[in-house]
Amino acid sequence: MSGLQFFWFLLIGVLFAGFFFLEGFDFGVGMSTRLLAKDKAEREQLVGTIGPVWDANEVWLITAAGAMFASFPHWYASLFSGYYLILLTILFGLIIRGVSFEFRSKMEGQKGRELWDWTLFIGSVIPPFFFGLMFTSMAAGMPIDEKGNMVATFTDYFTPFSIMGALVLTLLCFLHGLNYIGLKTIGDVHTRAIEYAKKLYIVLFVGLAAFVALLYVSTDFFELQTTATTVIVALMVVLSILATYGVYNGKEFLAFFTSGFTIISLVALLFFGLFPRVMVSSIASANDILIVNASSTPYTLKVMTWLSLTVLPFVLAYQGWTYYVFKNRIKKDDVVKY
């Protein structure tokens, strides 16, 4: 394995982690518009917290997928064709969600607005759930033939482990969203978000325990990467405890960043556990897709590395700047367009 191959494997991990950190709270806020908000004004307040930033957050996904296509075309091809219907569902969610922000603001009638509020909600639940399902089942191994094509059936996608992974990720995103709301609002919504988070963190610990147990049974992560897997799992628990502490003691920054880093740890767990593979075949380990044989040529990797290292600092700078510009907390009666 060359250094560049490793770098791009790492970079894709970072991009997915960034996506789930940033869009994670967007999804959580989207879920909160139905689960937390009590009236129209509160929904506006919640949507106002992510209005200016959600679009750029979603680009992290596009970039992650693009980087995967560019640096590991075999991985991209096997994964995306193998999870065809799952990805179709995710796309459906992202599409109805993406247009909701614009369309809901244009609706004048109560019913019309409600409709696009619902699509926003559904579109915020689908992606974390099905991404969770996809990545968890991928970690457990899927039937991949010697040509690298996945030939899976329903029971390969939906296992107790993958469903648990899906639920944990969805819950984590919801909690992350609640913490973000805690950070970005004042008023009733703010108080209620914290109350919800207090209760849900108990549920999360149960979910995490079940997830780790199933991880032990269903994957070879603990066998192959004993130290890394154990450390990351421990880290997730510590982070969740810290987040709970933050929620109970009104330390909003702590709660938000620890919940975000819990999600990042989950992504790290996946990437460490897979290493040096990118896809695990449940048919024969000879069919595993490896970093070494899935990647693009050294030349392509080199060109891409130079280009992205040039552009990335600017991207991070102006995206970070957006958060600085819109740093104020949103009140209930703020008139925010959207």
């Binding site: 679009d55 750029a56 075999h74 991209y76 179709l88 030349y299 392509t300 552009v311 102006y318 957006t322």
Partner: protein, 456 residues
């Protein structure tokens, strides 16, 4: 299908975005509030098309892996890296600054705010650029070598300097500019017929026509260069757009309209303009052009026995629709601008306003037709001369999955397209001054202590 739909909204985003950026710049320079109202109003419509354009673009990126997995493996080295660059350089720029533009009206100075829109437009254009670099590779592969059954990149610079890139990019870009211009002009014309916001719509109409005219002239120019390059590059595509089966005489005459028998591979009848095809192909009234039957033999000799005839009729008519539209739009823009210079005349000529109004749909048809020529003309290749369409599909995706996804996409797009058209209509009906009014209304409502929600 997804590509065509995507190709409806992206040029609209680029074109409208550019129009809005120009309006806002005029506002900064001339300090005329009307231009600010224009930027806000047309900006609202731009945002609608942007929202739909983004989500359909998302599908595009995923589809390569989902539906064309073998193709992705074959060209990932090249194609994938271009898509990644598109995301990194273009999408982040667009999506970040669109957020700043929407929510930044009160936070930034006029100049900075106008700059945001320009950055969004630059992002959109960069995105078009990278995707057309990728498409140009498919039309005319360069900078690669075949190893282990894959196309491997060996010269990134060649990808960018592929002459195809610059023909395609300029043609598509100017096509988007003209589309944006005529979209603004057309909607404004309809509003003038209804006698709504006269001054505002006059100004919009005028600016739309100017942008439209510039875009049309430049895109015709770029298209002409592109076709001349085709004679060498993809003679089959060129011959098919001309419906030319047998080698032409010297000098070659141009078929204005004609009918082809695609079973017998011959033209049934044609109406021709002498010398014209030679001029179109070589810029001089001499020289013959090879016909499809000759080229087919050449291609068989080069690439093996296969049918190399693209869908001739579609190509032939698509090209005529595209080129005809271009000529017609140029004429409309000139006539419209000429009358608008003579005070009061254009605004009283209802028939002309109707023509301009309905002209806003023509660029959409022309763009789609142009896209068909480009893509169908590549038949039977996904990468010209290297990789066929049949090789490209995902072997593990079932027909049922494909059918399901196509039905879902179709329904979803129809709904989204419909909803968007509905919103644009509504937005236009309300006119530019509705937003401020409704905002005041909301504020008043919030102050009302007897409002129902206050008691909840």
């Amino acid at each position: 299908m997804t590509t065509i739909f995507h190709f409806f909204f992206v040029p609209l985003s680029i074109g409208l975005g550019l129009s809005v950026a120009i309006m806002e710049t005029m506002y900064v320079i001339k300090k005329d509030e009307m231009y600010k109202d224009m930027a806000k109003f047309w900006g609202n419509i731009f945002l609608l098309s942007f929202a739909v354009g983004v989500v359909t673009g998302l599908i595009q990126e995923f589809q390569f892996g989902m539906n064309w997995s073998d193709y992705s493996r074959f060209v990932g080295d090249i194609f994938g890296s271009l898509l990644a660059m598109e995301a990194l350089m273009a999408f982040f720029l667009e999506s970040t600054f669109i957020g700043l533009w929407i929510f930044g009206w009160d936070k930034f100075s006029k100049k900075v705010h106008a700059l945001f829109m320009w950055l969004v437009v630059v992002g959109a254009m960069l995105s078009a650029f990278w995707i057309l670099v990728a498409n140009s590779f498919m039309q005319h592969p360069v900078g690669y070598e075949i190893n282990n059954g894959r196309a491997e990149l060996n010269d990134f610079g060649l990808l960018l300097s592929n002459p195809k890139v610059w023909y395609e990019f300029t043609h598509v870009l100017f096509g988007a500019v003209l589309l944006g211009g005529f979209f603004v002009a057309g909607l404004a014309a309809f509003r003038l017929i209804a006698k709504k916001d006269i001054e505002f719509n006059k100004k919009s109409l005028n600016l739309g026509l100017i942008i439209g005219l510039v875009g049309t002239v430049l895109s015709i120019g770029a298209g002409d260069l592109q076709m001349k390059a085709l004679v060498e590059d993809q003679p089959m595509k060129f011959a098919a757009t001309e419906g030319l089966y047998e080698d032409s005489g010297d000098p070659a005459s141009w078929t204005l309209v004609g009918w082809q028998d695609t079973d017998k591979n011959e033209s049934v009848w044609t109406l021709e303009v002498p010398y014209m095809l030679s001029i179109l192909s070589y810029n001089k009234p001499e020289g013959s052009v090879r016909g499809m039957n000759t080229i087919n033999q050449e291609l068989i000799a080069e690439y093996g026995d296969r049918n190399y005839y693209p869908p001739v009729k579609t190509m032939f008519w698509s090209f005529r629709i595209m080129a005809g539209s271009g000529a017609f739009l140029a004429l409309i823009a000139v006539v419209g601008l000429w009358f608008s210079k003579r005070k009061k005349t254009l605004w009283d000529m209802k028939w002309l306003l109707y023509i301009i109004g309905f002209s806003m749909f023509i660029p959409f048809i022309a763009n789609t037709a142009g896209w068909l020529v480009t893509e169908l003309g590549r038949y039977p290749w996904t990468v010209y001369g290297l990789y066929t369409i049949a090789d490209s599909v995902s072997p593990n995706v079932s027909a049922a999955s494909l059918l399901t996804s196509n039905i879902i996409y179709f329904l979803l797009f129809s709904i989204l397209g419909g909803v968007m058209a509905y919103f644009v209509r509504k937005e236009v009906k309300h006119g530019p001054y509705h937003i401020q009014e409704s905002e005041n209304e909301i504020n008043r409502k919030n102050d009302d202590p007897f409002e129902k929600e206050a008691f909840k």
